[in-house]
Symmetry: C2
Subunit: 224 residues, 2 copies
């Protein structure tokens, strides 16, 4: 598939590299067409580098892997006044982490709204799916790094878009049975609000290579 | 031990009943000394019923199981102008859930503050420990209801208070190895912010009797 990856940081690099390894045609987008990180990635991985708009116009799927606090402006650049995002599946994997007060970060939007909801509202014709934001980059693209039946969440309004994203996650190594559909885009705020706990756990566990599994009581049997 | 339980709802009932069954001397506190729910609980379980202040003055440990949005006023009544909370271990198990906009709820405080931090700030001599807020009442007092190595979190400034609370949790059935110390009271906001995801999962799973387990990568071996 033709996929645009917005962002040249660790998450963008991990996802773009995995997608290229899987045989997809990837354009890594940056704010500046001359971005050296993107150019180096393209050179090393057989993809292309370009602007955010180049990546978005290339992709049937556009993956937002920019820093969360800059995501809306990056997506505006990606849309480029040409509706590059209209009708596209936009997988939003970012978190609105605000480090301006130091570590640990707070969220720049939370509780009554979320980054994913803001993106969906700003680009109503985009088919936004929130996912992957609850694990570190290495685990996103290689879930077997962590043992056990750990899970990912998906939120979004468009069932077909969620199915498309679930297919890509399957290629990354996430079995369908470990993908939990939380519901519409509003539910993305609950996955984003988990991330401060993720940061606490990162500190408590001393590693970023972890995830959560869901365990539940056996269903009660119906009495006859 | 002498324990005061503030609140007569499902969480207060579950915890007070379990504590009484374990042989502790429990006073269930309500805003009104004539609260019929508390009186019925005391009659059925061999404890006592009283005001918030009665429960707090009785307890070496005070458990805040009031509705989160009323917790600060309940604790002010419990303190009673007599410093009933000073020096006490206050286990805060509530969530600041605001249902005024319907279901799902939002949090009445989040992100840059938390209910537990507000309680610690309002009662600086209380030894506040946040815990148990991430599971439903039945699982709080009977973790074996859910299979597997699922976990609880503790946050607070006072290591001895956390140890006391961990001891009670052990009596409930939580092994020490499944208690994760997230750090100081600030970290309570991250456990509180998980709760909206809990609500999403409750909807997705169709049961409240679940919890999360943490899985992590094997530690990398040192190369020789």
């Amino acid at each position: 598939m033709d996929i645009g990856v917005l962002g040249t940081g660790s998450v963008g690099q991990a996802i773009a590299t995995r997608l290229a390894d899987l045989g997809h045609s990837v354009v890594m987008g940056a704010r500046d067409a001359a971005n050296e990180t993107a150019a180096a990635w393209a050179e090393a991985n057989g993809g292309r580098a370009g602007t955010f708009a180049d990546a978005a116009s290339h992709g049937e799927i556009v993956i937002n892997a920019t820093a969360g606090v800059h995501a809306l402006s990056a997506l505006a650049a990606a849309d480029g006044g040409q509706d590059n995002l209209a009708g596209k599946v936009v997988a939003d994997v970012t978190n609105p982490l605000d480090f301006s007060g130091g570590f640990p970060p707070v969220l720049s939007v939370a509780n009554t709204n979320s980054l994913a909801e803001q993106i969906q509202a700003a680009f109503p014709e985009a088919r936004v799916v929130k996912t992957l934001n609850t694990v570190t980059a290495a685990v996103m693209v290689n879930p077997d790094l962590v043992p056990g039946e750990h899970v990912l969440f998906l939120s979004g309004e468009d069932p077909a878009a969620k199915k498309t994203v679930a297919g890509l996650l399957g290629e990354f190594g996430w079995p369908a049975g470990r993908l939990i559909d939380l519901g519409g885009i509003r539910s993305a705020r609950t996955a984003e609000m988990y991330v401060p706990l993720w940061v606490s756990l990162y500190q408590a566990l001393g590693t970023a290579n972890f995830n959560i599994a869901i365990v539940k009581a056996e269903a009660e049997e119906d009495e006859e």
